[in-house]
C-alpha cells in the first residue's frame, strides 16, 4: 500500500505541477521519499512538527496548491486534531492527508504507535472525505481520486503488505461500496485489511452452508447508505469488520444507518474498548479479534439472532 502511494504520488507529480508533498520526518516509512527524490522543490519535510505541517498544507491549499501531507495515522489526526479542524475542515481546504501505519497491524512498536482512534476523530469533522483502501491497487486509485476531487481528504493505509483483492482493471468509485461477493444470508461490511479476511471467512462459511454477501466500504465517509440499506434488506443481517476501535468507526457508522433506515441484527468485529500491545502483526490481529475466524464467529451469532 505504502509503495503504491509513493509511486502514485510520483505519477501525479509528473502530471500536475500543483501537487506538493509534506512529511514530518517519516518520508522513508510513508514512502513520500519517492516524490521527494523526483521533485525536491515540491517536497517539504517539516520535521517532527505535525501541527505546523498541517497548517503549512492548509496555507498551500489556500494558495492553489494540492498538498498531500503524510505521517503515521496515530499522529494525524491525533497530534494535530485542532489544526485539521480549524485550518482545513472548517474552511474546506483542498488538503489531502494520507496516513500510513493505521490500526494495530503496525505491530511491535506497540500502543503508542497503534492508531485505533483516528477514523473516529477524522469522521467527526464535517466535510472530510475518508477512505480506507483494501489493497495496493485500490490505494493507487483512491490517491488519484483524492488528487482530482476538491476538498479535504483523509486516506488511511496500513503498514504490512496485504493480499491483493483487486486486479489492475479495478476502478475505484468514490462514495460507492464495492460488492466483493454476492450472497443471501448475511452481509459482511469490511474495510482495509479486513476485506481480505472477510473473503477468507466467506469461503469457509460456504462449507457451513452460509452464503455471505461482502461489501468493501472503502469510502467510509460519505458512507454509501444505499448499498448498506439494500444489503440489509436482501440479507437481513450485518457484520462489520474494521481495524479500529469498535466505538466511532465503521461499526458505529453502519449501525446508525441501519437503525435509522432498516433495522436488522448487526455484529461488530473491531477492537473492543482497549489498547493493544507489542507483538507481531498477525499475532496482534489474532489476539484482538480481527481475523477471518472472528468474522466467522460474528456471522454465526448474527445469523442466530436473525433466526430468533
Amino acid at each position: 500500500m505504502r509503495q503504491s502511494y509513493g509511486k502514485t504520488l510520483v505519477e501525479l507529480g509528473n502530471e500536475n505541477p500543483d501537487i506538493v508533498v509534506l512529511d514530518a520526518d517519516l518520508s522513508r516509512s510513508t514512502m513520500t521519499q519517492l516524490f521527494a527524490g523526483e521533485f525536491p522543490n515540491r517536497f517539504f519535510d517539516c520535521g517532527i512538527a505535525e501541527q505546523n505541517m498541517v497548517g503549512i498544507a492548509a496555507g498551500l491549499a489556500a494558495s492553489g496548491k494540492i498538498p498531500f501531507a503524510s505521517t503515521f495515522a496515530v499522529f494525524a489526526p491525533g497530534r494535530c486534531f485542532d489544526q485539521i479542524r480549524m485550518s482545513i475542515a472548517q474552511p474546506k481546504l483542498n488538503v489531502k492527508l494520507v496516513t500510513t501505519h493505521g490500526g494495530i497491524s503496525v505491530g511491535e512498536d506497540g500502543t503508542s504507535h497503534h492508531s485505533i482512534e483516528d477514523l473516529s476523530l477524522i469522521c467527526s469533522l464535517p466535510g472530510f472525505t475518508v477512505i480506507v483502501p483494501a489493497d495496493a491497487i485500490e490505494t493507487a486509485q483512491a490517491v488519484r481520486v483524492a488528487a482530482t476531487s476538491y476538498g479535504p481528504f483523509y486516506v488511511r493505509l496500513c503498514r504490512p503488505k496485504v493480499p491483493l483483492v483487486y486486479d489492475q482493471d479495478y476502478r475505484f468509485n468514490l462514495g460507492k461500496a464495492v460488492t466483493m461477493r454476492q450472497g443471501k444470508d448475511v452481509t459482511i461490511i469490511a474495510m482495509g485489511l479486513m476485506v481480505s479476511a472477510a473473503l477468507e471467512a466467506a469461503d469457509d462459511l460456504m462449507r457451513e452452508d452460509i452464503d455471505c454477501h461482502i461489501l468493501n466500504i472503502s469510502t467510509l465517509k460519505p458512507i454509501d447508505k444505499v448499498a448498506i440499506i439494500s444489503a440489509a434488506a436482501e440479507t437481513g443481517a450485518i457484520v462489520t469488520a474494521e481495524e479500529h476501535l469498535e466505538h466511532g468507526g465503521l461499526g458505529s457508522i453502519i449501525a446508525q444507518v441501519i437503525a435509522r433506515h432498516y433495522p436488522v441484527p448487526i455484529e461488530f468485529v473491531a477492537i473492543k474498548d482497549t489498547y493493544a500491545q507489542s507483538g507481531e502483526s498477525a499475532e496482534l490481529l489474532q489476539r484482538y479479534g480481527l481475523t477471518a475466524k472472528d468474522i466467522k464467529q460474528a456471522v454465526r451469532s448474527v445469523i442466530k439472532r436473525k433466526g430468533g
Binding site: 517539504f44 501541527q51 505546523n52 497548517g55 498551500l60 489556500a62 494558495s63 474546506k92
Partner: protein, 294 residues
Amino acid sequence: MSLPKLGNSSSTTSADNVKAEVFSSLSIKEMEEIAKRLRRHIITMTGKAGSGHPGGSLSAVEIVTVVYCRLLRHKPSDPQWSDRDRFVLSKGHAAPLLYAALAECGYFPVDELLTLRQMDSRLQGHTDRAVTPGVEMSAGALGQGLSFTIGITLAGRLNSQDYRAYVLLGDGECDEGQIWEGAMAAAHFKVDNLTAIVDNNRQQIDGWNRDVMNLDPFNSKWLAFGWHVIEVDGHDFTQLIDAFNQAKMVKGQPTVIIAHTIKGKGVSFMENNPYFHGKAPNAEEVEIALKELE
C-alpha cells in the same frame, strides 16, 4: 487607495474606491484619521453585538491601518486575485478590527459591520475565510496562523509570484508550541516573503504575560530561531512603516516586527485593562468611548 477618501461617508462602499491594483499611500495624518475610524467601528460593532474582543482589536489598529493603507497590493473587487499580498490574522479574536479595515477598503459595505456576530451574518465571531470576502484564514483557535502563512509564502515561491504575506500574532498566542514550530520552519525554508507582526500588548486573558507565562527574552527567542527582528512602538506610524520597509529588504530569512502596544489603546478605561479583552462595552461605555474617539 485602499481606503475611501477621508470625508467620504464611510457607508458609501466599494465600487468608487476600488482600483485595479491597489497600492495606497495615505499620509500619516490621513492614517491617524483612519485609525480613529477603525477604533470607532470596533466600539460600535462590539457594543451592538453585546460581545466580542475590543482590547486586542484596539491594540493593533495602527498595525492594521499601515498594512491596509500602505502595504498591501490587493483588489477589494477581486478578493481571490492570485497575485495579491496576503494579510493573515492569526489572533482571530481581533476580527472586529479586520472587518472594520476590510469594510473601509470596500470588501463589503460598512453598514454590514453592525451585523457582527448575528445569525446569518458574514461577520462571524472569529474570522471565517469561507464566508467573509478578504479574510484569508479561518482563525480563533490560537497558534495556527504562522504555519498557514508559511504555506502561502511557499506557494508564492513555487509559482514565482512576487506577493508578500503578513501575519499578525498575539504575544499571548506565542505561548503556543505551534508558533515555535512555525518559527523554526519559516527560518529553515528561508521564507523572506513572510513578515510576522506581534501585537506585543503584554497582556493575555488572565493578566500580564509575565505573570501568566513569561515570554522574555522575547526578542532573543526570535533571533535564536533565525529571524530578523525589529522592535517598534506599535502605535507609531512612522516606525511601523520603516519596519515594514526594512522587512522587504531582508533576504534569506523571515522578519518579525515586535510591535509594542497597549491593549485597549485609545479608550481610557480599556487601556491596559484585561477586563475588556473579551467584554463588549455597554451602551454607556460605548457613548463615553465614542466621545473620546471624536
